[in-house]
């Protein structure tokens, strides 16, 4: 699967990021370099700003202070290149319950403009997440964990190299978690980037951790009002 093109470097750099939500500052002064092959786990208690940071990383919102760069350029100047490499799984699974798992995945593949052997690959991806035999059922007949798995099947289908995953392991059983960890390891070994937030311990060699508690806003930041 990996060809020479896939081996090119990817780099995301966060420069002195501060995020706020509803006028309340969550964290500040966060600078991280994320390179090809990294798996970055965001830690922090509930409400620490993990989701907010992930949404900034996919440019759904903007940080209050600081800049996020992709391959040295600010995100908004490089958006097409960035988004064609990006796979984001948010808080909401992004699955239409009226449609079947296969139909949902077909739409995602269509957005990426990807249709080489699509039917076959969708079937394989659904098999990989343990949904073989469910591909033509409506998603509202599936359990919460299974619906989550439909969204996770995108990790086996998409060619995106940057994965930004918000709590991807919620509602997934132990065997499923182990399998996903293997998928993360595979992705990082092939030169991809995984950025995820989870409260579970991950067994990965290339794991980097960022604890948002280490970046609590300092009193000057609060007084400066940004």
């Amino acid at each position: 699967m990996a060809n020479s093109k896939d081996q090119q470097a990817l780099a995301i750099s966060l420069d002195n990021i501060a995020c706020q939500r509803d006028e309340r500052q969550l964290f500040g002064g966060l600078s991280v370099e994320i390179n090809a092959g990294d798996v970055l786990q965001l830690l922090g208690p509930n409400g620490a700003g993990k989701t907010t940071l992930l949404r900034c990383l996919v440019s759904l919102s903007q940080p209050a202070v600081g800049e996020i760069r992709f391959n040295g350029q600010p995100l908004n100047q490089n958006l097409y290149a960035y988004r064609s490499q990006l796979l984001y799984l948010g808080h909401l699974a992004g699955i239409k319950s009226t449609l079947s798992p296969a139909e949902n995945l077909r739409w995602y593949a269509g957005l990426e403009g990807d249709d080489v052997n699509l039917e076959e690959r969708i079937e394989l991806a659904l098999k990989d997440v343990g949904l073989y035999g469910y591909e033509d059922q409506s998603c509202f007949n599936l359990s919460a964990g299974q619906q989550r798995r439909v969204a996770l099947a995108r990790l086996y289908l998409s060619k995106a190299r940057i994965w930004v995953l918000d709590e991807p392991l919620t509602a997934i059983d132990k065997a499923g978690v182990a399998k996903l960890e293997r998928r993360f390891a595979e992705h990082s070994a092939s030169g991809g980037i995984v950025i995820l937030s989870t409260h579970q311990d991950l067994q990965l060699d290339t794991l980097k951790q960022v604890d948002l508690q280490d970046y609590l806003p300092t009193p000057e930041m609060l007084l400066g009002g940004l």
Partner: protein, 239 residues
């Protein structure tokens, strides 16, 4: 950076854009067909209100013929308004809206596909039913063709303009009234030219001026509205 283009996907070539457009179009059509009940709502509303008019106002053909062009247009407009709130609601609730906005393809294309499906499932059925209701309203014979044509062009603008309002209010839990307040003033010109075109035809005048104006509204809306819709959706998702 020269290395950039080597590993990023090929540029926004038309096949990719077309694929994204078709993917969203097919998905929304499928969903619309599976929710047939909701699909019928605006039509039933249109039918019910127009049936009430002869009962409530006057059954005399002369009075009805006088009311017909304006009445048909006003109710078609209200029926469209009724269907707008659902346009982005379910996508917003299940997270597919943010996924749609994160697509590397310009949001213009995907938004266009969504609005096109909305028009296919409300504007077109309303247009097709209108002549039938014209009979009920004793619309004079000269009015049928202009009614069809003006509604066909006009409902396109109604869908596009309405989608701006729907996009602005999608993140509000109870945005229904606000949506009507935003959209109604923008609907007024479409209503004026649509209804007056039909009336002109009945009175024996040429109606191509009104159709031309409706056509230019539509052309303008096709160019500008998706940009406004995409911008409004980005704001609504960024909360």
């Amino acid at each position: 950076m020269s290395s950039n283009s080597r590993y990023s996907n090929p540029g926004p070539s038309s096949p990719r854009v077309a694929k994204a457009f078709w993917a969203t179009l097919k998905r929304d059509l499928k969903i619309a067909i599976r929710h047939r009940g909701e699909l019928a709502n605006p039509l039933i509303f249109f039918l019910l209100v127009i049936t009430m008019v002869p009962l409530g106002v006057s059954p005399s053909p002369k009075t009805l013929a006088l009311l017909a062009p304006g009445m048909l247009w006003v109710v078609a407009l209200l029926a469209t308004l009724l269907s707008l709130d659902a346009l982005f609601r379910s996508d917003f609730d299940d997270g597919t809206l943010e996924q749609l906005l994160l697509s590397p393809q310009s949001s213009y294309i995907n938004v266009m596909a969504k609005v096109f499906v909305h028009w296919l499932t409300t504007g077109v059925p309303l247009t097709l039913v209108a002549p039938l209701l014209g009979v009920m309203m004793s619309l004079p014979e000269a009015g049928y063709i202009p009614l069809l044509l003006s509604l066909l062009l006009g409902t396109g603008s109604l869908s596009l303009i309405g989608a701006i309002g729907a996009a602005l209010t999608v993140s509000l839990r109870k945005g229904g009234l606000l949506l009507s307040l935003i959209v109604m003033p923008l609907y007024v010109p479409v209503l004026i030219f649509g209804a007056s075109g039909v009336r002109a035809a009945i009175e024996g005048f040429a109606y191509n001026t009104q159709l031309a104006v409706l056509g230019s509204f539509l052309a303008l809306a096709i160019i500008a509205a998706p940009l406004a819709i995409a911008g409004a959706l980005k704001m609504s998702v960024n909360n």
